[in-house]
């Protein structure tokens, strides 16, 4: 927390500090989500933050939603907030569809309408908890945003490495639920960018917490008669983790600002590339600094590292985002490259 933090940031941090007890987080591993956190988000009217009130949202800015995601990342709290607010809720609000109460999930790929039916198999975040599944569907009349009733799909349970519910969902349903044409700016590309940004923000929070935790542990842990943070070899790891946290924090904040202005293609792609690097380089250094302690479930590092390893895989890995950045660079050409770096 820094003095410049917003009211939302301070509120969510207090809320999570209160309900993210070790027991609650442990139970979340069994249940696939952290129910107490979700309940508190509902009570605080945070679940639909950044969505306009006229669509049934809670109002607030994208920056507010970003603050919530970073805080959830710091605690590695497992709830479908990104799916409900930033992704599925955003699709519904943009398409003038009513927001259902309760958690929402979203199909992260483009579906196609064939013979008035949509069929597919995909991995969904918290599919079993969702009151509604939102998808972008390609039809002969253009893209539409459609709701799929969760009771019409088959679900195979699954879990990401962090113990968050990730069901494999099969469906072959007629398009009977609410639907509406997707407005300009709403397509699978913009959904995937928002999805990637949501993971970047969660990971920025996790990286920050990982850096704090590693600094604290290495100052408390004594070996050879002194805190291990005094050893230069250990200091190298501390610096690596701090660099990861700094890079990702700045990248995430800039990507949010860019998305407030436009598509943010470069910023989100770059931030996701950095997030993936942090998941590899940062966790390696943090674990090395923690020694065997970090390998136990009794100590909280595993929550952060497992979350980072999971989220890096969602909404495209570094290689695919690097390619997109490469395309931007080659399209800009030699003289256009530096303007991409500086944003002007």
């Amino acid at each position: 927390m820094s003095p410049t933090d917003s009211l939302v940031a301070r509120t969510i941090d207090r809320l999570l500090a209160d309900c993210c007890t070790p027991e609650a987080l442990e139970r979340a591993e069994v249940e696939g989500w952290c129910a107490p956190v979700w309940d508190r988000l509902v009570t605080a009217d945070f679940t639909h933050i950044s969505l306009p009130e006229e669509s049934g949202g809670s109002g607030g800015s994208l920056g507010d939603a970003a603050d919530v995601l970073k805080a959830l990342g710091r605690y590695a709290a497992s709830v479908p907030f990104a799916e409900t607010a930033l992704l599925g809720g955003w699709l519904l609000a943009r398409a003038d569809l009513t927001l259902p109460g309760g958690p929402i999930t979203v199909v992260p790929e483009l579906l196609r309408l064939q013979a008035n039916r949509i069929a597919g198999r995909t991995r969904l975040a918290w599919g079993a908890r969702a009151q509604a599944i939102v998808a972008i569907v390609d039809t002969t009349d253009g893209l539409i945003v459609a709701l799929i009733d969760p009771s019409d799909v088959t679900m195979e349970p699954g879990s990401n490495l962090a113990g968050e519910a990730r069901e494999t969902v099969g469906f072959d349903v007629a398009l009977t639920g609410a639907r509406h044409a997707a407005p300009v700016g709403v397509d699978i590309g913009s959904l995937q960018r928002r999805g990637a940004l949501s993971r970047v923000l969660l990971m920025a929070g996790a990286a920050e917490a990982m850096s704090d935790l590693t600094v604290r542990y290495t100052h408390e842990r004594h070996q050879f008669g002194q805190p291990i943070a005094r050893f230069q070899a250990v200091q190298q790891h501390l610096v690596t983790v701090a660099q990861c946290a700094a890079k990702l924090s700045v990248a995430a904040d800039l990507a949010v600002r860019a998305l407030e202005r436009g598509p943010a293609e470069l910023e989100i792609a770059a931030a996701k590339v950095i997030a993936d690097e942090v998941a590899v380089v940062g966790t390696r250094a943090a674990h090395q600094a923690h020694g065997a302690m970090g390998m136990t479930r009794e100590y909280p590092l595993h929550r952060l590292s497992r979350a980072l390893w999971s989220w890096r895989h969602e909404y495209g890995h570094a290689r695919s985002w690097s390619r997109r950045l490469g395309d931007l660079a080659f399209a800009a050409g030699a003289d256009g490259l530096f303007p991409l770096v500086t944003g002007s």
């Binding site: 600094v215 100052h219 501390l238 610096v239 660099q243 910023e267 950045l325 660079a329 530096f338």
Partner: protein
């Protein structure tokens, strides 16, 4: 440890456009070849033309020929100069750190004597810190100054000093109180402004790894330095030196040294030959340039906000210098020819120089090992455990 994300304002972007237009015109017809980072060519005439635009000594006081501009404005100008490989070698050190040091610690007479010429792009400076037996452990230096009539007499040897054979002045960190008379070895050191053409100063180039001759050994053989060339307080040289490192460390020169290699690679690529490996490699580099620019800009903004982000600057330099090395290897992995030492084409020539000089990036201006120690000292546990 805190980095606040920040972006350029409209006014700063206007300055950026102005600098780009100037450099496009200047360098389009330049006879001097673009170089790498601040190891680029020395061109006093270019430095004067840049100064005429108000882009040397930007953040120095107007009263001494400066322009009272912000750290971010200077960042914008410097970033463009580095990106174009402009010949900034003549005024670089004076602009980056000697000017600010004199403005902060110099006497009124010193400010009037040196700052207008620094801001005019006229004066060039070297930095006399390392010695044959004192590199990272700078406080162990043995170059000594002994009191003399009206000043001091310096004796000793400085090494790995860039440009001392051609520059005008050197700021020498030397011992003015013998080591055995101080309890803290970092006290008793002083900074002195020494004319490189003064009697008793000998600068000899030490051939650099790429065959260039800009790296020097400087011998002071009972060189007389008048009292009015002592910078700041006698005995406070260590603190004075350290306080300015934030300007030296977190700037765009710490991640853009090899940028031009990447840009020229792009220029050489025809769109038909762009492989997936090239897309990924360049895309990955773009992500890193983007975030390093953001981190470095954040430091400049912090300075303008009245903070002194010393730890953060060390963190960024450690990160940026490793990247500017790594990106050379990334480009090397994409080419299908063996770089030739005698190449004259711009891309290949820059690539050769970058490959040969890259190891210096993580050494000059504080080794990465020293930087990591500095950062680690700034990483303290938060009072309130989470």
């Amino acid at each position: 440890m805190h980095f606040e994300a920040t972006e350029l304002t409209d006014g700063e972007r206007a300055l950026q456009r102005e600098v780009r237009a100037f450099l496009a015109a200047e360098l389009g017809e330049a006879t001097v070849q673009p170089g790498l980072g601040f190891n680029s060519a020395k061109d006093p005439a270019f430095s004067r033309r840049l100064a005429a635009r108000g882009w040397v000594g930007m953040a120095l006081p107007r009263a001494y020929g400066g322009h009272d501009r912000s750290a971010v404005d200077r960042f914008v100008v410097v970033e463009e100069l580095l990106r174009w490989g402009a010949p900034i070698g003549h005024h670089w050190v004076a602009d980056r750190q000697i000017g600010p040091q004199i403005a902060r610690y110099g006497t009124e007479a010193q400010k009037q004597r040196f700052l207008p010429d620094i801001c005019g792009g006229e004066l060039s400076f070297s930095i006399g810190m390392s010695e044959p037996d004192s590199g990272s452990d700078l406080a162990s230096l043995v170059t000594k100054a002994t009191p003399a009539d009206g000043g001091w007499t310096i004796s000793g040897t400085k090494v790995w000093t860039t440009g001392a054979h051609v520059h005008d002045w050197i700021v020498v960190l030397c011992r003015t109180t013998p080591r055995e008379e101080v309890t803290d070895r970092r006290s008793g050191l002083s900074q002195m402004l020494v004319d490189l053409k003064a009697p008793g100063v000998r600068a000899r180039p030490i051939p650099f790894i790429d065959g260039t001759a800009d790296f020097c050994e400087v011998v002071f053989d009972e060189t007389f330095v008048p009292d009015d060339q002592v910078l700041g307080e006698v005995g406070a040289g260590w603190t004075q030196n350290a306080s300015e490192l934030v300007y030296e460390r977190g700037g765009p020169d710490r991640f853009l040294s090899t940028y031009l290699v990447v840009e020229q690679f792009l220029r050489e690529c025809s769109s038909e030959t762009v492989t997936d490996a090239a897309r990924e490699t360049i895309g990955h580099a773009l992500a890193q340039y983007w975030v390093l620019h953001a981190l470095s800009l954040s430091l400049a903004r912090a300075i303008d906000d009245g903070r002194l982000p010393t730890t953060e600057a060390a963190l960024v330099k450690e990160l940026g210098t490793r990247f500017e090395q790594d990106v050379v290897n990334s480009i090397l992995s994409l080419i299908d020819f063996e770089p030739d030492l005698t190449a004259s084409g711009l891309f290949e020539r820059l690539l050769v120089t970058a490959t040969l000089t890259a190891p210096s990036f993580t050494i000059r201006g504080g080794t990465n090992e020293v930087l990591r120690s500095i950062v680690a000292k700034g990483l303290r546990p938060q009072v309130e455990p989470r």
